[in-house]
């Protein structure tokens, strides 16, 4: 077990190293190449260009630049924004909790609904419940997230005026975040107004993003439950006098949960991809919005750091999911 974890950790670092190299070198090939941008910004004055290149360290060989970049990353220095010269890690530190809050809430909503619908659809196979569950799952994975977001704003923010249309917290609220997780901060500071306001801002984006997750989880759960319900041990459980409901919940479901842990990583990829879009729709100040904004103003170090952090989170979650999978399944653990 310990060997597996060590092995997986080494593999994770190798992948992270490759990921950082891809991002670093790829971005220098395109229109984001900082040298090209400098030439533009200094209107071609050779002396200014040389000065700026030296300032940003662009006069060194690219391999050296990459080495320095890696050394910086290892120390938590992800570079400085071209816009305001502030460390990009500061912007990321501000934005990351927002994305994590959104992702956790969406994952919670998505898995609860998805598991429920998947189990019901499998238990009542070929009834209207099954058809309904399958249709809802299809909607979740096929409807464009950005459109669901805008329709959500149109209905709940503009027409009904129940929920805010965007942002993370109302501007009237005077509030200093401590951890950056607003709902948690509100609880810690005993500010119910903050909790309720932050929650209202979080609700619509996470329902929209949660639908995507729910679609995937419903499909996987239904398939796994159908397989599990057909097993001999479920029939045995019923023969021993368990009600069919009890046999399904106590005997079939625990075994069906295992395949679901395997898609945990995939699900988190969906959440991060979806966060980029949902945050753009709801002007929700998280990592995805940071990335999209940085691309539109061509803030090269910010783009580089944002993609690196998003990919690193994904790699980390996948590694943890792999370990959890092995821990939770003795068959995998022993082989």
């Amino acid at each position: 077990m310990a060997r597996f974890i060590v092995h997986r950790a080494i593999q994770m670092f190798a992948v992270l190293l490759a990921v950082s190299a891809i991002i670093f070198f790829a971005l220098r090939l395109g229109p984001f190449d900082p040298s090209a941008q400098l030439a533009e910004a200094t209107s071609g004055d050779p002396a200014r260009i040389a000065e700026m290149r030296a300032y940003w360290g662009l006069d060194q060989p690219i391999i050296v630049q990459y080495g320095k970049y890696l050394a910086g990353v290892a120390h938590g220095d992800l570079g400085r924004s071209l816009l305001d010269q502030q460390p990009v890690s500061r912007a990321i530190g501000d934005r990351l909790p927002a994305t994590i809050e959104l992702a956790l809430m969406s994952m919670l909503l998505g898995t609860v609904f998805g598991l429920g619908m998947g189990v019901l659809a499998a238990y009542k196979q070929e009834t209207w419940l099954d058809v309904g569950g399958r249709s809802a799952a299809l909607v979740g994975i096929s409807f464009p997230t950005f459109w669901l977001g805008i329709m959500g704003i149109a209905i709940f923010a503009v027409k009904l005026q129940w929920l805010p249309a965007g942002g993370r917290i109302s501007s009237e609220i005077d509030f200093q975040p401590t951890t950056g997780f607003y709902v948690l901060d509100g609880l810690l500071q005993r500010r119910l107004d903050v909790v309720s306001d932050a929650f209202q801002h979080l609700l619509l984006p996470s329902v929209v993003l949660g639908l995507l997750v729910a679609g995937l989880v419903t499909r996987i759960t239904r398939a796994a439950m159908l397989e599990s319900l057909a097993k001999d041990y479920v029939r045995t459980a019923e023969a021993k006098g368990n009600t069919p409901q009890r046999a399904a919940i106590r005997h079939a479901l625990p075994n069906a949960l295992l395949p679901i842990t395997t898609i945990l990583g995939l699900m988190f990829g969906l959440l991060l991809s979806g966060a980029v879009i949902v945050e753009t729709v709801f002007a929700f100040p998280g990592m995805g919005k940071l990335l999209v904004d940085a691309i539109s103003v061509r803030d090269f170090p910010q783009v580089q750091a944002s993609i690196l952090v998003l990919a690193a989170i994904y790699v980390l979650v996948n590694a943890v999911a792999d370990v959890l999978y092995v821990v939770s399944d003795p068959r995998v653990r022993l082989s």
Binding site: V19, L138, W147, G269, I307
Partner: protein, 284 residues
């Protein structure tokens, strides 16, 4: 008549009413994309500053946008972009994935390790974020979007092709063919491709919906197909700032994407089921 021309699994799939309806919708969208100039008298990019944001009428059934362009016309022409992105990127992923899968699963050795490790690295990026990186590097345009979405799907197809070839290797006919001295080319033509390609192809059809959605998402965040091209995702993003004044403007372009993606997903699922009832969808 027409039905007879279709391969048997396709005919069997179309026997299922849901799949048949989904197939007809996809066919209709393809038809609309091809015949767009015949179906509407307007030019999708022609602005009419005198008639912006008109309500639906006989001359503009879905109304006009903020530049006075006919929304229905733009939806019809937008089908071209979405379909080209959907089919183009999946075709690219299928071909590249098949080649890499063969190199990896058939020839094994060093290529296998190299290819599978690079696929692991590619899969270390969430799909849209990988596609975003590609578009940022190459600059936003229609070919780039196709390339970006296609490339992000390649690892899934490579893994699938590789695992299919690896299980073929275990079969007796494969061993027999190798032992009778088949050349690599002959192995490919007679023993590998006939087994791998059909299932890979059917799996690919289930990815078209995802590819269309991804392309639309890139357009929505502003790094996809550039204006004034009529693109569905772009239309939703152009209408988004107007949500407080005209809340339901983005209803039609978004619904069009949704219907297309649902139809493609149902058709793909139906084909997969008819082709191999035990196969599960690999690409979600």
């Amino acid at each position: 008549m027409l039905r007879r021309m279709l391969p048997r699994p396709v005919r069997r799939a179309l026997g299922d009413p849901v799949t048949a309806v989904a197939g007809s919708i996809v066919a209709l969208i393809i038809l609309a994309a091809i015949a767009a100039p015949l179906l509407t008298p307007y030019d999708p990019a022609a602005q009419d500053p005198l008639h912006p944001l008109e309500s639906p009428s006989w001359s503009h059934p879905f109304g006009t946008d903020q530049f006075g362009r006919d929304i229905l016309t733009r939806l019809l022409y937008g089908a071209r972009i979405s379909l080209v992105v959907g089919f183009g990127s999946v075709a690219l992923a299928l071909v590249l994935g098949l080649i890499l899968g063969i190199l990896s699963g058939y020839y094994r050795s060093f290529a296998d390790v190299m290819i599978m490790r690079s696929m692991d690295v590619a899969l270390a990026f969430p799909l849209i974020i990988f596609a975003t990186l590609v578009v940022v590097v190459l600059g936003p345009s229609l070919p780039t979007v196709i390339f970006a979405v296609g490339i992000s799907l390649v690892p899934l197809f490579t893994r699938l092709a590789r695992s299919m070839i690896l299980s073929l290797r275990e079969q007796e006919f494969f061993e027999a063919a190798v032992s009778t001295g088949c050349t690599d080319a002959r192995m490919m033509r007679h023993h590998v491709l006939p087994h791998v390609f059909p299932l890979l192809f059917v799996q690919a059809t289930t990815a078209i919906g995802l590819a269309i959605l991804s392309g639309a998402a890139l357009s929505f965040i502003g790094i996809g197909v550039q204006p004034p091209a009529a693109d569905w995702g772009r239309m939703v993003s152009e209408f988004a700032p107007l949500v407080f004044v005209h809340p339901f403007l983005s209803f039609y372009p978004g619904l069009t994407i949704a219907i297309t993606a649902v139809a493609c997903n149902l058709l793909g699922d139906g084909l997969l089921r008819a082709f191999d009832p035990t196969a599960t969808r690999v690409i979600t």
